[in-house]
Amino acid sequence: MSAEAARPPLSERLRPGLRAGVALGPVAFLVGLSFGVLARPEMGKVAPIVMSAVVFAGASQFGALAVLASGGGAVPAVLAGVLLNARFLPMGLALGPSLPGRALRRAAEGQAVVDASWALANRGDGTFDRDRLLGATLPQYPLWIIGTAVGTLAGDRLGDPDALGLDALFPAFFLALLIPELKDRRTLGVALAGAGLALALTPVAPAGVPVLVACLAALWGLRR
């Protein structure tokens, strides 16, 4: 593996991604915190922390929690969570060609996909920087779990997460990631079409489906 040996060491390659991930860390912490606060009454002290450690997909955790809290059973809760993760299918298909190595290794690296890291790893030319993806996720993962733990253990002292405006974090966070992507009018048009498609479907489709269907707007790229 001479090509491998010629590359800089892993710690050096991960550094730009780590730097980006550290900036994302406080958001992961705060959203994890609001998940912990909301999950505590429904799931107890331990389960929310375990869930953040092993599922590590914010929207699907909130979605599954909402079903459980409304009295739905495990099956609808898992279905809601799966639909909210469905966007990771097209996102993973986009990422896959940029991942070298065996299938098992690519599958493991695919676990690092969360919205922010995936967006930051995208080079804007249809390829992804694998080291940036891994580096950006590394700080977010422990902070997501720690945030959840603080939320479950200290939640009764924090009050309602909505009163603190924590539900406004997600859209602001995604907007900050979106703006640098809007490089030209075509991109802006497709992004608006995706948003419009998602909004149109939100009142009628189960959560998660609108964003999945919105991905179809990117097929506009098949045109010159």
């Binding site: 705060l30 603190l164 405006g165 602001a172 998602a198 990117a218 506009w220 098949l222």
Partner: protein, 105 residues
């Protein structure tokens, strides 16, 4: 096992499979220019859809305009002023919390 733990176990397996699917199906290959253009457009499309749904989506009522929209406007202003990400999200949370405290939204 309670519904909570069944949910956690099943959602863990499902999430791993979903995140693995793309990388396993297509790995390490050169793509055609049209495929690259589609992938290039995917990030802004997904992010714009997430902004829209997370701002206006409501579990029970379909679409609503509430304090989250004020938060989004505050975030937009912070982005326009080239503030760092932490300031952007705190501006959003602060605007939404303020509006709710005043009973405006």
């Amino acid at each position: 096992m309670s519904a909570v733990w069944i949910t956690i176990a099943a959602l863990t397996v499902a999430t791993i499979l979903i995140k693995s699917a793309g990388p396993v199906a297509v790995g390490g290959r050169q793509l055609s220019p049209p495929a690259l253009r589609v992938i290039t457009l995917l990030a802004p499309t997904v992010l714009a859809a997430l902004v829209a749904v997370e701002t206006f989506g409501s579990g029970k009522h379909g679409l609503v305009v509430d304090a989250r929209f004020l938060g989004l406007l505050a975030a937009g202003a912070a982005i326009a002023l080239r503030m760092p990400l932490a300031v952007v999200v705190l501006a959003a949370a602060g605007a939404a919390a303020g509006a709710r405290a005043l009973g405006a939204a």
